[in-house]
Symmetry: C2
Subunit: 252 residues, 2 copies
């Protein structure tokens, strides 16, 4: 059994008139290969040649941007703490929320193909990231590289999660999508050692709605409906799941 702790309700971002000026990337060195493997829940095979890996540490305040669309690829990130939001902005200016990465998730993998990042990532809470620089991934002299293999394994995992997420938007009814979203969130929290029954959503109703392709009002109404039915308890962003069984029934 994993150690269950309550989710740190971390400084929620309250929009302030001006984006606070900040000292950029605390570029601390950080070298704990086993911790990264553990965060990623890696269970593949390695060659055991993990030389002294040079990771970096990066802390973000809520509201800060972790990666920007179009920025040249400079490596991958593993989330050590905090919640983020990944989104794409279309030519017509419309935003599309792709995912809500949290502890153990990988960021930036869409930058490998074209050598620049293709999505925006912003911190929803204060965050602690581990950077795997591109030099560690691709250095040609390095030969066979455990880091590269680990990274690609993690990318494969992210693909699977993306497919699952994609499937989220394919329920007939909007209430069903919201119910499924909550269940998936619950499972993700549980997988990282947090409580599955009680958690704080780090994102707004609008972001949830965008992600599920429904309006924020519909999300709100769905939450209220599930609350009135006694299936969950909603108090702003504090969610308690009272009956996982009943929640699952709503996913049809």
């Amino acid at each position: 059994m994993m150690n269950v702790q309550t989710l740190p309700s971390a400084a929620r971002w309250q929009p302030s008139a001006s984006q606070p000026v900040l000292k950029l990337d605390s570029d601390e060195r950080w070298s704990d290969f086993p911790e990264v493997l553990n965060l990623l829940r890696f269970d593949g095979q390695l060659h055991g040649m993990n030389d002294t890996s040079l990771f970096r540490r990066r802390r973000l305040k809520a509201g800060q941007s972790a990666l920007r669309m179009g920025q040249p690829f400079e490596g991958l990130y593993v989330v050590r703490l905090g919640s983020l939001k990944t989104s794409m902005t279309h030519v017509d200016g419309a935003e599309h929320v792709l995912a809500f990465p949290m502890k153990g998730d990988l960021l930036g993998f869409d930058g490998i193909c074209k050598n620049k990042y293709l999505s925006e990532v912003v911190a929803l809470t204060d965050c602690d990231l581990i950077k795997i620089p591109d030099t560690e991934l691709f250095s040609p002299g390095r030969g066979c590289n455990d880091i590269e293999r680990m990274a690609y394994w993690a990318i494969s995992r992210e693909i699977v999660q993306e497919q699952t997420t994609y499937a989220l938007t394919h329920s007939a009814k909007s209430e069903a999508r919201v119910a499924r979203f909550l269940r998936v969130q619950s499972e993700r929290f549980a997988a990282m050692g947090y409580s599955a029954n009680r958690f704080t959503l780090p994102m707004t109703r609008r972001d949830i709605g965008n992600h599920l392709n429904v309006t924020l009002e519909t999300v709100s109404r769905a939450f209220s409906a599930l609350d009135h039915l006694g299936i969950i308890s909603v108090e702003r962003r504090e969610i308690k799941i009272l009956s996982l069984e009943a929640l699952r029934k709503f996913e049809a």
Copy 2:
């Protein structure tokens, strides 16, 4: 300029009462690393150590299954010819169409993470696939491996395409989704050297609808509407794009 050819309208699959019995995987050897790189439109860096690569060739008749959910991972496939359909089946039995792979696309990458395939892939037309066996990808003694790097680069590309596809379902109006779907199809055909203005859709209205999360009737109505407006010409599955400009306007 690429060589433009009309899309081979390839034996469309007409469902027959019984799945035809077939000789399985023609397991021919096949060893043309440059062709694979070309198919994948690879433009990354390699170490130039591409030893004698041992690929396999596999031909499928329309309607045959290329990969099955749950089947143990045995490698990746690159499509050399033909069209396919990727889908996931949920616990409740609902099918979700993820993508329509064609020439140059990669199959099976969702199998790396859990060492088994997580989606169904069936051929919509007769297909010609190149198999990259897992032994070629992961053999530990092999050291630094160009094939592995190429494969992962291709996976990164597929992620990007998946995100684009995912965004397909995030247009407000259903007509807009259908219009965007047609434009994306057109661009994909063009990217592989086929005509961008005239092509044959290999999939049913139902599959398109499932993919876009609308009903087949809605797809049909959208096609008709775009036809009546003179933006496209639809005759069963034969599509002509008459005004790409106008088509784009419908994506808002």
